[in-house]
């Protein structure tokens, strides 16, 4: 296997019966317990679920930054589960773009914004897709082209990390929480940019708690305790659901996971309206 593959299956990547077990001080951790999923060419998929559910592990394996303990990983039609390091390295360079959870980990601190993108393009060695200047414009960073990452805000760094992944985007873009620190407008830019590259043929796989992402993307997979528990399209995300919640003697209310996901900032505005308590996220009311 050389790292250059020909995809004849119509899917960019696939995971079959994927298991990942880590050895920790406290014993073994079963991060993934048999995951089966395909990622067809083009399109955007979000992996959602609670913290510790295995999202980052799944994305790492998909991005060839980790090895499965068992199961099969296919990429561009080839089985890469046991591929040697040289092949994995070549695939990471040519076929996969990665956006880390901490954006600073994906940037060169001494290069300017535009230089970071140029460097990503140089390493990728591709000429198709978005040019660096186009990516900058798409993500609203043109005016910061000459700044180094240390002078950017957290949100700008995150957009830059996404921009580096989308410049001359390869077949597979894997992003871990790409909208976590972004406001609505910038989150929308990022999602729009991802949609652009997806439309051009790249497959985008994200992990996210962000309801904006969950609503926007066509495909959402729920990963809980290392197992895919549900798959639905973004449009199928219920606007309303009725559940019961417990109020303790101190007046604290425990929300269900789905409800909790509506408050990514873990702050809520509470209104008493017509004898009802209405909770909404502060961002959504501004």
């Amino acid at each position: 296997m050389t790292g250059e593959t020909t995809n004849v299956t119509g899917r960019t990547a696939g995971l079959s019966n994927l298991v990942r077990i880590y050895r920790a001080v406290s014993g073994e951790v079963h991060a993934l317990r048999g995951v089966d999923v395909d990622f067809p060419s083009g399109g955007i998929t979000v992996i959602a679920g609670p913290s510790g559910g295995g999202k980052s592990t799944l994305l790492s394996i998909l991005a060839l930054r980790d090895r499965a303990s068992a199961g099969t990983v296919t990429l561009l039609g080839a089985d890469v589960t046991q591929a040697p390091q040289s092949v994995l390295k070549s695939l990471r360079r040519n076929s996969i773009a990665w956006v880390p959870q901490r954006p600073a980990h994906g940037l060169f601190p001494h290069l300017t914004v535009i230089e970071n993108l140029l460097q990503a393009a140089c390493i990728r060695g591709r000429t198709d897709g978005l040019e660096p200047t186009q990516t900058l414009e798409l993500l609203g960073l043109t005016h910061r082209a000459d700044a180094t990452p240390g002078r950017l805000s957290g949100g700008e760094q995150q957009r830059l990390a996404v921009a580096a992944a989308l410049t001359h985007a390869p077949a597979l873009v894997v992003a871990d929480e790409p909208t976590a620190e972004l406001d609505d407008d910038n989150a929308e830019r990022v999602l729009a940019a991802l949609a652009t590259v997806a439309a051009a043929g790249s497959t985008c796989v994200l992990s996210s708690h962000d309801p904006r992402a969950l609503r926007r993307v066509p495909r959402v997979l729920h990963l809980r305790h290392g197992v895919l528990s549900a798959e639905r399209s973004g449009s199928e995300l219920p606007e309303t659901r009725r559940t019961e919640a417990v109020i303790d003697s101190a007046g604290r209310l425990q929300l269900s996971p789905e409800a909790l996901n509506l408050f990514p900032g873990r702050r809520a505005r509470m209104e008493l309206i017509d004898g009802k308590v209405v909770l909404e996220a502060p961002e959504s009311s501004s």
Partner: protein
């Protein structure tokens, strides 16, 4: 291919904005470059220094074969063409100055019958020798006559006695006849009659010359006054009449003297010589001159050589006289010994510097880890990753290499051992520094390669072994074992070593490392046990809580203590050993030299201060006598030193150590004799104790003595010696003299009348000043020695230099330790950043935190000093066995506790602490809360 990469374009200038990492790397490379460059520079400096000292100790006025010069002696008449050719040959020898020509009348040495050379005025004739030397006429101290006048110059006293005035004519010639009444220094000289010498030989041949003027002489009335002539006194022709003084010289320019020689039918002796120039005073250049001189020496015995051929057919066999070859051989041997002294230290220094660079590279690789993870993660080619890392280091490595070389070069130029290093040494040092730079860059490439390999394996799912708890390996027991073996080796050695022994450089580091580690581990174990048994609750003050939090940042305080302890320890060892070696060298010099200057004079009565054992001289002068004797009953050969206990203490050198101090005290025990037994001090005589009697045989005299002290060292006593008070001994000799048996040397009026004794004048003046003093007294000393000659003893000189080098090594070790502490503190502050942030939010002021950090660092420093005490104490006990300068010379290096070096070391530790506190404060102030919370550091 990679030229368009922004990463690579930015790489060379990146370190300019990196602050601490760039500084750390620059300093460590400067350390390594300096310590490596010091090797060839030290070797060259010691070589040139050895040569300088050796050349400085060549006695003035000595023969040509002792001097740094080359001379051709051609006894007999030679053609003008031969003269020109010989001068040309001499001119061709590199690094020699202008050729000096000498010619004098030598028929009395070269002709059968030994005709007597003379000057004559009427019926008066004196034994006199025609003489010319380049510059001699110009150097004369003119009494009468005009400079530049043609003719010959005579001593003023002789000219006056002969009734000659400038412009008068007189005869010069040689004679076999006894019809001439020729006066020598001690009466008429009787030439051999001509008819026994061969057929056709004229009895007397002479020519008429003009007196150009008269010149001043020294007290003997013969040697022309002035340093020009005193410097060549040993090379002047000897007196044809056999007088101990130089002959009466008729000095003139070459043309006048040659004409007079021809007119007198004299056979000349020619001498052509040239001295080593100032530029030639380096070992390499002296070697070139010595090689040429040696060739000429061989040529002199080869009839087919150009030197022999040029004089062929003239009845002259050239003779080569030179001290260049022996001086070069001795200087080379000294240089090798000196270089050997420094080799062990140089290797230790290079290892230390390499450790500094490795530490810096590791720290840098830690900082670059995230970036390399990014690069490996995106599949960047390995050559590009390594190239980026190497390119980033170009500037600090170059700056460090230049700084290190420049610092060590100017250190040698400023502080010696010798400031003139020569282009060879500089080129060698530059090569060494270049190698350091290459090794550093290559090392960085290797570190990057290993790191990317590890990252690649991790990305490929291979678990790192770093997470597993390491067994640590049996390093401490191994280190302790090696140290124990080394100590045992030193203790069981018979001879005392010097810096030539590699153990001298390695053992201190072993002892300090293992001693500090052991002390710290024991202390930690004891503290843990005390804490477990303690029933009191842990301190609840906010300061204690903060300190505990500061401790638990993943970096062991004990490691800091050990590193600082070793660094300060190596510096302390260097300072202590230097102090002790210098003191020992001073003591041994005192024993070798005796006094600042000493002169072997004919008799003490010539000093004009009266005869007897205690002549009244100035406070800075003391007369003493020496002879050889045998100590009964074993006929043990000893030197006898007869001193004036009143003037001797102020004039002799007493060094700094206890042995010579004891000797000085012992002088007071030289009281009056009792019942004919003379009190004496015994030096270096085994098996003799204080209070015991004995007998020493001086010539045929048996001198009874009682030992008032049994000493190990005494000024001027280079072997087993017995010291007497001059009054006691000479009174004893006077008593014997009444029986007609022996002379008292203090009463002798000429050297031949003082028996086996030699008279010496010791002084606190310099050798030059003492020579001038004796010159004013019209006393010509046989030799004058100076303290510089003793100081130039190769093993003492090289030990002193090696000790200084040890200090440099100590400073480098301290710098490395300081660097380690600062780097560790920097990392600790970085890791403690979230803790700091929380503390700030709880209301702890930054100044309070810095004060607590300063206290913690001060306690760390104090712990390091305490941990240093046991190993350093052990080292000081072993020190005399490690670094004795000149083990064969007395007195032996004894145990001392020099306080100043220890205080300086403690001060250095305090300095490192202050720098670490500053670094911590600076790092803490640079923290940005948002970055800390994002963990974007």
């Amino acid at each position: 291919m990679y030229h368009s990469w922004p990463l690579l374009r930015r790489a060379p200038g990146r370190m300019l904005h990196s602050g601490a990492p760039a500084l750390m790397l620059t300093i460590s490379v400067a350390l390594l470059a300096g310590l490596v460059a010091a090797g060839p520079l030290f070797a060259r400096a010691t070589a040139n220094g050895s040569l300088e000292r050796k050349l400085a100790t060549v006695p003035a006025g000595s023969q040509l074969n002792q001097q740094a010069a080359l001379g051709f002696v051609l006894p007999g008449p030679i053609w003008d063409e031969t003269r020109a050719e010989v001068v040309r040959m001499l001119d061709g020898v590199p690094w020699l100055g202008p050729v000096v020509t000498e010619v004098w009348a030598a028929s009395w040495q070269l002709e059968l019958g030994k005709p007597v050379p003379f000057l004559g005025v009427g019926d008066q004739h004196r034994v006199a020798v025609l003489y010319h030397r380049t510059g001699a006429v110009q150097a004369l101290d003119v009494v009468r006559g005009e400079r530049g006048a043609r003719g010959l110059w005579l001593p003023d006293g002789e000219a006056h006695g002969l009734g000659l005035d400038p412009g008068d004519e007189f005869q010069v010639g040689k004679t076999f006849s006894d019809g001439l009444d020729i006066l020598g220094c001690s009466g008429p000289v009787a030439p051999v009659a001509a008819d026994s010498q061969g057929r056709g030989t004229r009895t007397t041949s002479q020519s008429t010359v003009t007196l150009a003027g008269t010149y001043r002489t020294v007290a003997d009335g013969r040697l022309p006054a002035g340093s020009y002539f005193s410097s060549i006194a040993a090379r002047l022709p000897s007196d044809p009449a056999g007088c101990p003084t130089p002959p009466l010289l008729m000095i003139g320019d070459q043309e006048t003297v040659l004409a007079a020689l021809k007119g007198a039918d004299e056979k000349p002796q020619w001498s052509f010589s040239a001295e080593l120039t100032q530029e030639g005073r380096s070992l390499g250049r002296l070697g070139q001159a010595a090689t040429a001189a040696q060739k000429f020496r061989l040529d002199a015995s080869d009839p087919t050589s150009a030197l022999r051929v040029v004089a062929a057919g003239q009845g002259v066999v050239p003779r080569v006289e030179t001290g260049l070859t022996s001086l070069h051989d001795e200087a080379q041997a000294d240089a090798r010994a000196a270089a050997q002294q420094g080799r062990g230290i140089a290797l230790a220094g290079a290892a230390l510097g390499l450790a500094a660079v490795i530490m810096a590279l590791r720290a840098l690789s830690q900082r670059r880890r995230r970036e390399n993870e990014l690069l490996v993660g995106v599949g960047a080619p390995l050559p590009a990753i390594i190239l980026a890392g190497v390119a980033e280091l170009l500037l600090p490595v170059f700056a460090g290499a230049v700084t290190g070389f420049t610092a060590v070069y100017f250190a040698f130029v400023g502080f010696g051992p010798q400031s003139r290093l020569g282009p060879d040494a500089i080129v060698a040092a530059l090569y060494a520094v270049g190698l350091v730079a290459l090794v550093t860059l290559a090392g960085n490439a290797v570190v990057t390669l290993l790191q990317t390999h590890a990252i690649g394996r991790r990305l490929a799912g291979h678990e790192s072994s770093r997470g597993r708890a390491g067994s640590g390996g049996p390093w401490l027991p191994l280190l302790l074992g090696a140290t124990g073996l080394a100590i045992a080796s030193v203790l069981t050695r018979d001879d005392r070593a010097s810096y030539t022994d590699p153990l001298a450089a390695v053992l201190p580091v072993l002892v300090l490392s293992s001693g500090s580690l052991l002390t710290v581990r024991l202390a930690a174990a004891v503290a843990a046990r005390v804490r477990r048994r303690s029933t009191t609750t842990p301190g609840s003050s906010i300061d204690r809580l903060i300190l505990r939090g500061l401790r638990d940042t993943g970096l062991a305080v004990t490691d800091l203590v050990v590193v600082l302890s070793i660094g300060v320890g190596v510096l302390a060892y260097g300072l202590v050993s230097t102090s002790m070696v210098r003191a020992s060298v001073q003591d041994k010099t005192a024993v070798l030299a005796g006094a600042v200057s000493t002169a072997h004079i004919p008799t003490s009565s010539g000093l004009g201060a009266g005869s007897g054992p205690h002549p009244a001289l100035g406070q800075d002068l003391s007369v003493l006598w020496k002879t050889r004797a045998q100590l009964q009953p074993d006929h043990h050969d000893v030197d006898i030193l007869v001193i004036n206990p009143e003037t001797f203490p102020a004039v002799a050198l007493w060094g700094r150590g206890p042995d010579l101090a004891e000797a000085r005290q012992a002088l007071q025990t030289l009281g009056a004799p009792a019942r004919g037994v003379l009190p004496a001090l015994l030096i270096g005589i085994p098996g003799r104790e204080t209070g015991l009697g004995g007998t020493v045989s001086i010539g045929s005299q048996e001198i009874p003595l009682i030992a008032r002290a049994d000493l190990t060292a005494f000024p001027g006593a280079t072997g087993p010696t017995v010291v007497f008070d001059a009054r006691s001994l000479f009174a004893h000799l006077d008593a014997l003299d009444a029986l007609g048996n022996v002379q008292n040397p203090s009463l002798a009026v000429n050297p031949g009348s003082q028996g086996t004794y030699t008279t010496w004048l010791w002084s606190t003046r310099t050798a030059t000043a003492l020579a001038a003093y004796l010159d004013r007294k019209d006393i010509t000393p046989a030799t004058i020695t100076s303290i510089q000659q003793a100081q130039a003893t190769p093993v003492l000189t090289s030990s002193r230099w090696a000790a200084t080098y040890q200090v440099v090594l100590g400073l480098a070790a301290l710098a490395l330790a300081g660097l380690s502490v600062v780097v560790a503190v920097d990392r600790r502050v970085a890791r403690a950043a979230p803790v700091d942030l929380v503390l700030f939010r709880f209301g702890i002021r930054p100044a309070h935190l810095i004060r607590l950090r300063a206290i913690e660092l001060a306690l760390t420093s104090l712990a390091a000093l305490i941990a240093l005490v046991p190993p350093l104490a052990l080292l000081m006990l072993l020190l005399p066995r490690l670094v004795e300068p000149g083990p064969a010379l007395a007195p032996a290096l004894g145990f001392q506790i020099p306080l100043l070096p220890l205080a300086l070391s403690a001060l250095a530790a305090a300095g490192v602490t202050v720098v670490a506190v500053w670094a911590a404060a600076r790092r803490s102030a640079a923290l940005v809360p948002s970055e800390v919370l994002r963990d974007d550091r």
